[in-house]
Amino acid sequence: MSVPILEMKNITKQFPGVKALDDVSFKVERENIHCLVGENGAGKSTLMKVLSGVHPHGSYEGEIYISGELQEYSNTRDSEKAGIAVIYQELALVPEMTVYENVFLGHEIRRGINININETIKQTVEVLKKVGLDVNPSTKVKYLGIGKQQLVEIAKALSRDAKLLVLDEPTSALNESDSENLLNLLRELKKEGVTSILISHKLQEVISVADKVTVLRDGQSVITLDGHNGEVNEDVLIKHMVGRSIENIYPDREKKPFGDVVFEVRDWSAYDPRRGRNLLEDVNIKLKKGEIVGITGLMGAGRTELALSLFGNPVGYQIKGEMLINGKPVSFSNPHDAIEAGLAYVTEDRKGNGLILIQDVKSNITIANLDRITEGGVINENAEIKDAREYTESLDIKTPSINQKVLYLSGGNQQKVSLAKWLYVQPDVMILDEPTRGIDVGAKYEIFTIMNSLVEQGMSIIMISSELPEILGMADRIYVVSSGRITGELQKEEADQETIMRFATM
């Protein structure tokens, strides 16, 4: 047997108040796709940051071997030189730069002291083709959706001839067909001699692509399974990840007749003066009390734009149409009005516009509804601590304390803080935009359970998601969006993947 391309031995990594990795050993064979799974906060990203030198040598205990040689990285440049390319969970692109500038950022193709732009663009086109991204390489990255940005990020790693590719939840923002493309890409690359480490919460794709799967739990490596002898299936993975089995990931909900229509938009159109085009055209949506309505469609269909335009329109679209709450016409001039009227919006991009990363868990939870804990403008600290504790516990947010900066929480726990923040507003209508992105199965189940109990208590939910299984599992009624228009409305009973996809591509 050949020397493994990567071997990490007895890695321990301690943060103040958290032991993120506890004596983890991890071995990756050459030309494999090795998946890393585990609950939120299990230590997956941390392990990869140790590997890539984000956490430099000396800040952790243990040893790293690449092809049998001991490695001591003091920064990410060192690991890049050793042939390791990492795509982090947090995107690391420069929004104001073009696609080709981003792809070759830090290893520009030069001619003398100039950058050879033609050659750069040519190579960018090639590598974009590889990742199946069809955009003009001179587009600024900020104009791309989060899904396309992810692909640029992958192209960037590929352009560096990496031997070991680490992908931290690359598909969490991608729709099914893009995800499938990416997995095929990894299989292709494997044939060309590239080894991949893939972190994912989407167990189906792990099962389909993995040569090996390692499960982390609470900072320890629980087991490594072989993907080829049939020992890997969803139940086994969940059991190792969570430590118990979960019967039905979409928990049942008591069937109750829905109440009156609480929220409605009629002939809703939005024009974006900056992009100079219509984002939404004649959208009609109804939401009844106690109902979960799913909104799905392909990436870029206008779902997030719809949510923003409904939620006080902070981006400044030009809007036509009517919005009714409990049958009465309303209009919001900013998100504050929307919150006052009983709306909440859990954003898709929790780092960009969801959370204040440099602030602690407590302040993030209370920020959208400080009224609840202020008297005469003064914050009642005791009440704030009590409430923040309550929400942290009821959503099972894993954090050493409510005084921890959100920046230091794992992705999934950040998402739960985002949810807690909006539950704290006690809304009547909650818009959830990709609520389970980057969340582990256990936490997904918890979030679905919470959603169920919310609607049972009379809340109404609009759930935007590209994950068809979860839309099918959770929504009572489904709207399909394509190019800014509603192309289909389906009852739960008549919906299936094929029908939805047909409407989504209309």
Binding site: P314, I339, A368, I379
Partner: protein, 393 residues
């Protein structure tokens, strides 16, 4: 042994918070030795506090401006201009002091709101908007003092703001040579400090948050009391607490309270930390911009009046470079231009650090060109220290 370990750990963990105090202490100790004690004489310390007053108030306002990711370059000449308005109001319009002070403050707020309008409503970068303000207020100051040149202010109560001291208790035989009211205020402050520390510790323990061990807590209290005692004693040994010091303390306390305890403070730091998230949380970023620049204008007016009062006149160049001193003080005090980080108390200490440097070097007879370079170096060192300690996880 564990006791010293805890001290060291505590210092390591809170190096950011304590670093500035340590730096201040080192600077003061150095000047005390280099000037044979003149630097820490009652008279000089009292003088130093009066000198830094008008920068300290600006630095406090600037802190919030930088926290919300903006900058205000116009405050120097705006302060000079508003000081001139105060002088004109007193000497030419013959308005009473009690009216002039609030009136000029209202002008200040108004000026700040105009700045905010260009930024929030028209979307001009604050650097550019306030650079324009710098030019405009410089011109306005020249024009206001064009006919008369320097305007002398013959009003004693106005001039007391920058030069006067609080009255003493009428007890001539009790503790002669010391300012009794200052001592009394010192004692009141000490008691208030101890009570608030104990209650905050109790509260933290009730929520099982981490607290200092008992011995450490006592050490900290004793240390702070000694510091407070020393300052009180030094000030009481001269003329007592000056009106400038009272004003600076009041502004600091009010802003400290606003930023740490209130709704408004939360909103300001939220906007600084992530404007998009703040907007979607129902906070109007524009409104906060107006509030912060309005407050900056108010404090600029105060600063301008303190300066005019100190010189007992409004001069044609009043306010020159104040903005840079204020910005430097804020950065030395630990604000971050990335937004969302910075304490008003830090900026106050920053202002004291910068003014101590000037004052100490003056006493040592170091020439002005060297002084600029030293101050520049300290500014850079302070920010390097800040950035380095911020990175540590």
């Amino acid at each position: 042994m564990t006791f010293f370990k805890e001290i060291i750990q505590l210092l390591k963990k809170n190096i950011r918070d304590y670093g500035m105090f340590i730096a201040l202490f080192v600077i003061m100790a150095y000047f005390a030795i280099a000037t044979d004690g003149v630097f820490i004489s009652s008279r000089n310390i009292s003088n130093l506090l009066n000198q830094m007053g008008y920068i300290a108030v600006l630095a406090i306002g600037m802190t919030l401006v930088i926290v919300i990711r903006h900058i205000d370059l116009s405050v120097g000449f705006m302060a000079g201009f508003l000081g001139a308005i105060a002088a004109i109001a007193l000497t030419q319009w013959n308005l009473p002091v009690a009216l002039v002070i609030p009136l000029v403050m209202i002008f200040g707020i108004f000026a700040g709101l105009i700045t905010a309008t260009t930024i929030a409503r028209f979307g001009i970068p604050s650097f550019v908007a306030t650079l324009a303000g710098w030019l405009i207020y410089r011109g306005a100051l020249s024009q206001a003092t064009l006919k008369t040149g320097t305007i002398v202010i013959p009003n004693d109560s106005f001039n007391a703001l920058g030069n006067g001291y609080i009255p003493d208790l009428p007890l001539p035989n009790f503790l002669p040579g010391l300012h009794k009211l200052t001592l009394l205020l010192g004692v009141v402050a000490a008691v208030a400090f101890v009570i608030s520390e104990i209650s905050s510790r109790k509260k933290k323990m009730a929520y099982d948050f981490e607290v200092l061990s008992k011995s450490m807590f006592v050490v900290k209290i004793v240390f702070m009391l000694l510091l407070l005692g020393a300052i009180t004693y030094v000030l009481a040994g001269y003329n007592g607490l000056s009106w400038t010091a009272v004003i600076v303390l009041a502004v600091t306390l009010i802003y400290h309270f606003l930023t740490t305890q209130t709704y408004l403070g939360r909103h300001i730091y939220a906007v600084g930390g992530n404007p998009e998230a703040a907007e979607l949380s129902g906070i109007s970023v524009n409104k906060i911009t107006y509030v912060v620049f309005g407050s900056m204008g108010l404090l600029t007016a105060l600063s301008g009046m303190l300066f005019a009062s100190r010189l007992q006149s409004a001069t044609t160049t009043a306010g020159t470079l104040f903005e840079l001193d204020a910005i430097a003080a804020a950065y030395v005090g630990g604000v971050s231009s990335a937004g969302g980080v910075g304490k008003v108390t830090g900026s106050l200490v920053g202002a004291i650090v910068m003014m101590s440097l000037t004052n100490g070097m003056n006493l040592m007879g170091i020439d002005i060109s060297t002084q600029y370079m030293v101050r520049g170096a300290v500014l850079v060192l302070a920010v390097i220290f800040d950035v380095a300690t911020r990175k540590r996880v």
